[in-house]
Symmetry: C2
Subunit: 393 residues, 2 copies
């Protein structure tokens, strides 16, 4: 286990009806609130009205709706400008990871004179931020309990992140009933995203990290158990609550602290999203089993088969390659069984830009040095080509 | 899953050499430091000198050594008095759970005019506390990352707790090398304590808590894996680091949040410690397998066998009673294999006060209503009687 510092100061109010703690959570910071949200699903669900009702007497609400699924840097700039104009005290992000990530960009950009896109190449430029409170409406990115933010620059076809303790949400309200209306496609994409965070931290070279791996294995079992239940019955409280809490646990430092190195699949997927604006979790579901297949070797078979043993209850075959191969098959077939489109063609991506995206992936992240298994541009290109066709086992 | 609020604001600096962050962690709060520690092992290990060396230039250090293994209320009163006299700004607790729990009592009692023993019957009397920084020297109670404190009143033969967010440590320094010198007996007692925290939260009636249970299963596997390694080689960094981080994770809210009810074995063991001043973790190791055996039934066999399956890799027998019984045997035999004294006689307790302790256990905690399986006075008495002799399977 490597040295680390762990700090997750976010106060979580979890469960049905916790919205009643919203006003008291905000008023610590002031009266002027920037309310950010996405495409309007919170208006259809009634949550928007509930929020205004809770806040109407004591706060001045300024709204920034229409935050994109892959939030654009232009929206961050616009939000920061609103914060300056209206002397905003606190940013209230209502939605999923995109809305919360955008809020983080806004909260930090409020105090930055340059172009906030700079943060993605140097997170240390974030030296101060407005406080952020979130109301989560989809279980996926974990942004509600960490300091990460992924932003998109469509002009340069870049989707990049920054990380700062200054933008960790102060309070997040997690009411599983708010995810009842999440459509099947977004539910499975969210679960794929949670799983990917767990996979990326799990497949790592740092030795003696059983605490982190044991937590990850438990969370992976949870996601595999409850996702089909939520898909079948979107209003199953047990399923929605476990998926929601798993999303926060998967990326708040518990499974990654004490490990070195960087992620593999996210680096590749961010190119797909940047070039084609596809749903992040779906891109991850497509990439992950091909990546596992590509890196399967004597060196990785032990860890992959341990994963299959702990998460899918596979018996550890004397030949670990057999168990590892069966694990990869189950990863793939499970996504298929949920209904995830599992080839690039199904999400509108052909082979024309695969090599260009592979080059970009290596340019943006040191995939060829600091990952679980080092990936060259050709490896990434190969994984992308494998993603064009169905996998056969 | 039940509603809950989760807040763990403690900053953890984990790993060898993190002591270098001590001065900067303290100076946020002021210059006057109350340094508390236990029986002097930190002087023998050299940690005491290291701390004074780190702090000598910028702080005024006042010392309260000799905190008892089951910290006494008189020591809390004395420490609070020192805080008033010397205008203490921050309490630095160096040691294990006892020292940290005592520091929590002191930090809260500093601002309380009555007898701080009052906190154990009403935690709400804690409305303010001095900030606490800890340096952990044994993996056990998890006190370094939560707001709980267990105090002992030898006069009334009571060992009771209070809980307050005001006494959650601000910063805890977790350097696994500081546990290299922990003797075998305390190492196994610490591991038993960690396991007991996990068991107590795991065996619970609240449905749909797979996130919490999955995390607990991973942590239990970790403790079972690394304890014999640490016993064999006390300076195994991988073992000591995993046990240390597991101790914090086991009782910081991760495995208990979202669950209702109260614990069983701790309520019983606290009477043993209060009457006989025995090592808490050893008492828990003795009580736990008897308690499991006593509550084993058709209603509990599923959960006990799930535990055996996930933690000991047992195959789930068609007859769950068989798997559950085998699980209990392994719990018992594992403690024996570590060298834990597994009967009351071996820790100096005879049958003379068992019934009195059973009465007190029921008086102090609603064991007969809010536990996993309701326990009457007679049940507790039976579990204590079972603890007089070895278990046979």
């Amino acid at each position: 286990m490597n040295n680390f510092s762990f700090q997750v100061p976010t106060t979580i109010h979890f469960g049905e009806g916790q919205i009643r703690k919203l006003a008291s959570s905000l008023k610590v910071y002031g009266k002027n609130v920037l309310l950010t949200y996405g495409g309007g699903s919170i208006k259809r669900s009634g949550l928007y009205d509930t929020i205004l009702d809770e806040l109407k007497n004591d706060f001045n609400i300024f709204e920034l709706g229409g935050v994109e699924p892959n939030p654009r840097i232009e929206t961050v700039v616009k939000g920061a400008e609103m914060c300056r104009t209206h002397d905003i005290d606190v940013v209230l992000a209502v939605g999923g990871g995109s809305t919360i990530d955008c809020a983080k960009g806004i909260a930090a950009a409020r105090f930055y004179d340059g172009n906030p896109w700079d943060f993605t190449s140097n997170s240390r430029l974030v030296t101060k931020a407005l406080p952020i409170v979130t109301i989560l409406t989809i279980a996926a990115t974990g942004s509600e309990m960490n300091g990460g933010s992924v932003l998109t620059n469509l002009e340069t076809k870049e989707k990049l992140s920054f990380h700062s303790r200054h933008v960790i949400p102060k309070v997040s309200i997690l009411d599983p009933t708010y995810t009842y209306s999440v459509p099947s496609y977004q539910t499975m994409a969210g679960s794929a995203d949670i799983l990917s965070h767990l996979f990326e931290n799990y497949f790592n070279k740092t030795p003696d990290t059983m605490v982190q791996d044991g937590i990850a294995e438990g969370l992976m079992r949870t996601v595999y158990h409850y996702t089909p239940i939520a898909l079948k019955n979107p209003e199953d409280y047990g399923a929605r609550s476990n998926l929601m809490w798993a999303s926060s646990m998967a990326l708040n430092g518990l499974t990654g602290s004490g490990k070195a190195g960087i992620w593999s699949c996210h680096g590749i997927e961010h190119e797909l999203s940047a070039y084609y604006d596809i749903t992040h979790g779906i891109g991850l579901a497509i990439i992950t089993p091909r990546w596992l297949q590509h890196i399967l070797s004597d060196k990785t078979a032990d860890k992959i088969s341990q994963f299959g043993h702990r998460v899918f209850d596979l018996t550890l075959d004397a030949n670990r390659m057999t168990t590892a191969q069966e694990t990869i098959r189950i990863v793939y077939e499970t996504f298929v069984s949920w209904g995830v489109p599992m080839t690039l063609g199904e999400v509108g991506i052909d082979d024309s830009l695969l090599e260009e995206m592979a080059v970009q992936a290596i340019t943006h992240k040191p995939l060829n040095t600091e990952t679980y298994v080092s990936l060259s541009k050709d490896d990434v290109h190969e994984i992308l080509k494998m993603s064009l066709t169905e996998m056969n086992f």
